[in-house]
Symmetry: C3
Subunit: 426 residues, 3 copies
């Protein structure tokens, strides 16, 4: 395949200004201040640890940012091959004038200082967004986030609900819920009402999605208030539930969320397949993995019960992509949502994108989100995706199906931006 | 890879006249009469529905063909990217002189009329087969099909057995069985005899395969007449069986079919992995999906018990292809059979074909079947496969292994046609 | 992608002399004596059988080597497409001056004789290794192997432990253990001591790895001596254990091996996912297959309990590669180990290599082992891998990431050889 054609398509796609439909940006501190904010991203700490660096060396309490970066740079030689390190080098080139092949123990300090100077500029956040071609960014907000003090037009609220579904057993979660809603829950009915208050609060602040990450074992079903009430009462009194009762409560809360999504006309982002704390001695955010033995058939009841709710779905295991393609092809309310975490590498993005573009209606595909914690990552991550997308458009459409370049680009633009607008209503 | 080489190989392969080893053609009405027959294919109705068109609009009772096509065309803009729509456009180009890029609300009517005129020609069926390079076509016959009134040399009977294995609990199925065999079943022994009568009937009409589609949970084992007789008696009396008893009956009937396949020397096509009615509110034939958690190890007992029966196997989940390759590599009676349904897109055909051509004996691979309901689809579907096959032959054989083009083409011809002849004895 | 670039990279990689980190070489008879040793490899016998040759014809007792080869050659026409037959032709070209396209019934005899003459040269073993670019070879030694009479510097011992974990119930295994250790086991404690003696023996002979193949159902956990002692006692007395007790014993022995690996600082090669004797009527070593429904989550407790033990992991099902990539990316003690058996074909090697090179630290990847039974196979098998590796380096690094060729080659050399040295300490 002509690399020139790929590059041409990619260059065109790069001109499009984007909305990033899923990130972990803190809107009060969206951009980085030093390279430590950037290299503290779990991708680097967990890979450095995996390559041999003791966790203690990475997470030593009180470590100043520059020393931390110096330590992490020592590991980069082992990680040079990874796409994650290519993001790092690429963003340093784009934003900080870095022009060497690799970040090494000999050149990192100058880079650190140059980057710090750049990031100290008062309008760095705006500069970064502008240079990255991003104009709006979805957040991941705790259910008790006040959603104040930032521009919700630029930083779009998204109600994240893992705590409600899976951690109501923790007193601090219940305390946060009570504080956020101003009401004490006494049972299933009042819990449902409290959740409704959260939706009202988020809705009045421009929320555009509800979201949750789910373990491979989860299988949602409708649970009646009567059925779950005794378990919820015991839970609210601080009792530890049996596994069966905990599942019942999770299903009830999850189903309640879906009902509110229907009422408030919110898409419900499902991120399916993560096992938490598989490696509990790992670094911060570097402990989760997955069991690939999961199926979307587990969500059959949900998809059938809520035809009016849009479910943009991300799958963690690459092998789940074929099910995702097929379920999106059949269910009007199932959407393919980007390339998540362990599947977010070009080898898998390309295979998965090919299948989606060949078999899922083009108005049902969200091409990509960055999942970033700091703004600087939107550029290299979307760039990686654009490269893969351009490759698929070139091979499968321009070459194999003889599409004109402009027709292929229109398809690319729809999955990169157009569908984010229509699906989330932004 | 040189696109020119791919095209050259594809052009050569296109010259070969084929036998289509699995279709849903109605031999009494094999070709289409209007575009509504073509666009009524579930691929278009289900994708239109998935992209947002209400089922009621697609399946409104009494809708005339032209109005129906007009409605479906409204959805094509959302489906333009799909390989299924590329089949549609390609067949309209091939057969109906269509020469625009897309079928749109402005050009469809002229196309509709031109197509209708073409299809009204008295020899359209013959023309279509000839232009498509197809000379014989396997059918999918209900067990009670009289198999009369058509040329069984052109349209080859295939005994489809889903109803017998999974739906004997339905009174209408039992009534059909009684009518077809002229005998009332009283228990396991007479049921077995009745099934034997079906084989005799089909055998006397040139049947070339027995076939069935199977859910992911199915795992065949031998069941003795004594063991199953009480359950079958209750079933025949109209009782609803427990899940365990229903499984027992299914296994007994399935095993009985395998025994008759041995006796009548018929290949037994297994199409593994479909869950029916996952989306019951979907359009006609657009309701089935799958659970990818399935393994060919579930068929271990079967493959060992019937070394004399050929089992051409289709798998629905793409991830099952590696098992299929490996089982075909080890078991003499396991054959790879085409690219089924949700796996029938170029992204997956290419990966799966590469693996099969690299690791399965070349006399054990059935390259492709069209699975079509109307003759017009053989052309674009086989074309899609030929493109993928040519790509793999070019890359993996001509380039990587330095084979001559003629040697690569011989391999291509064997999987396209030669093996259909040897495996099914046509 | 430029085929010339791929070839250039491959040629450079071919200059590197290698250590083969997993084989089944018999160090007392490492090279072949006739083509029958080569074509007796299970890949050829099982594929010939799969393509239609009766087992009896292949395994007829008392068959002389030349007749056996003549018979197997009859099947080659059906297997010509397979990568395994390309290994055969390639090694005959490299070592025996074969220069035709295919081995056929008309040309095999001359080849047989020429090969026999070559292999009769007294230094054939040295010649073969030298021409193949291999200098050291890991073995697969039974636990009671005396490890004497060969150069353990060239042929590196590896303690294979399947018999201990899964077959202690067989009297002959217990007898071999007693003989090897000079002690009779009376229960869990003495069994553990006996296993320690095996480690001491292997350690004093330069062992570099402990290894085992595991069925998909296996899930290791710590088992206390007290918990397992009664079951082991019954086992040692020749009783047949219940499935649960057999699992308990297997887990205890396995965990004990891991403890000794920690004590003796040995990597523990896990080869995950094989079901034995799925096709018991198959040819010798051509009976095993797999159930792809397996997850590395089953090894979570092990990876957490032994941070000081390196676990190079091979997976049998191709779909397991994504989990392997992800677990190696997170767990410091999990390493990717080559491309095993049914996954050892270019179609899968390429996909799997791409993902590993993009996401696993480069010091944690063992690129390839030959798994060979006879030395002549190292050449074509490593060649196959080098081709795939060169293709990935060209596409993903030189072209997509604009790496220099020398930088890409350094990465290639590290996974081909460097990591074998650092991981196994050779």
């Amino acid at each position: 395949m002509s690399e020139q054609l790929v590059q041409q398509l990619c260059d065109e796609l790069t001109k499009l200004v984007l909305i990033d439909p899923h990130t972990h940006i803190n809107p009060h501190s969206a951009a980085s201040r030093t390279l430590a904010d950037i290299m503290g991203y779990h991708y680097y700490t967990e890979l450095a640890h995996s390559a041999g660096m003791p966790k203690e060396r990475i997470e030593e309490p009180g470590l100043d940012p520059k020393t931390k970066v110096g330590r992490l740079v020592e590991s980069l030689g082992h990680l040079d091959n990874t796409i994650q390190v290519s993001w790092l080098v690429e963003l340093c080139r784009k934003f900080f004038g870095f022009n060497e092949e690799q970040i090494t123990t000999s050149n990192w300090e100058a880079l650190y200082d140059r980057a710090a100077a750049k990031m100290a500029e008062p309008d760095w956040e705006d500069q970064c967004l502008k240079q990255s071609g991003i104009e709006r960014v979805f957040l991941t907000n705790d259910f008790d986030d006040p959603l104040e003090g930032f521009d919700t037009n630029r930083y779009i609220p998204c109600l994240r609900t893992d705590d409600l579904v899976f951690h109501l057993g923790k007193p601090e979660v219940r305390a946060r819920l009570a504080k956020a809603t101003g009401m004490e829950c006494a049972g299933a009915t009042s819990l449902r009402r409290a959740i409704g208050k959260l939706f009202e609060h988020f809705s009045s602040h421009g929320v555009r999605a509800c979201a949750i990450s789910l373990p491979p074992s989860f299988s949602p079903t409708a649970v009646s208030v009567n059925e779950v009430d005794p378990a919820i009462k015991r839970l609210l009194q601080g009792e530890t539930l049996s596994a069966d009762d905990a599942t019942l409560v999770s299903r009830f809360v999850f189903w309640t969320l879906a009902e509110y999504c229907a009422e408030f006309r919110l898409p419900f982002d499902l991120m399916i397949g993560v096992n938490r704390r598989v490696y509990p001695e790992g670094v911060f955010q570097g402990q989760d993995l997955f069991d690939q033995r999961v199926s979307l058939i587990q969500y059959q009841a949900l998809f059938n019960a809520f035809p009016q709710v849009k479910f943009p779905i991300s799958v963690l295991a690459q092998i789940s992509n074929h099910e995702l393609v097929s379920y999106s092809w059949i269910f009007p309310n199932v959407y393919t949502n980007a390339h998540w975490w362990y599947s977010n590498i070009p080898a898998y993005i390309e295979i998965d994108t090919r299948a989606r573009l060949q078999a899922v209606p083009q108005n049902k595909q969200i091409g990509y989100y960055s999942d970033m914690y700091k703004l600087e990552f939107a550029w290299p991550k979307f760039n990686m995706y654009r490269q893969s997308l351009a490759r698929v458009l070139a091979q499968d459409f321009v070459i194999a199906r003889k599409w004109s370049e402009s027709r292929a680009l229109a398809l690319g633009r729809q999955v990169l931006r157009g569908n984010v607008e229509t699906i989330f209503g932004v």
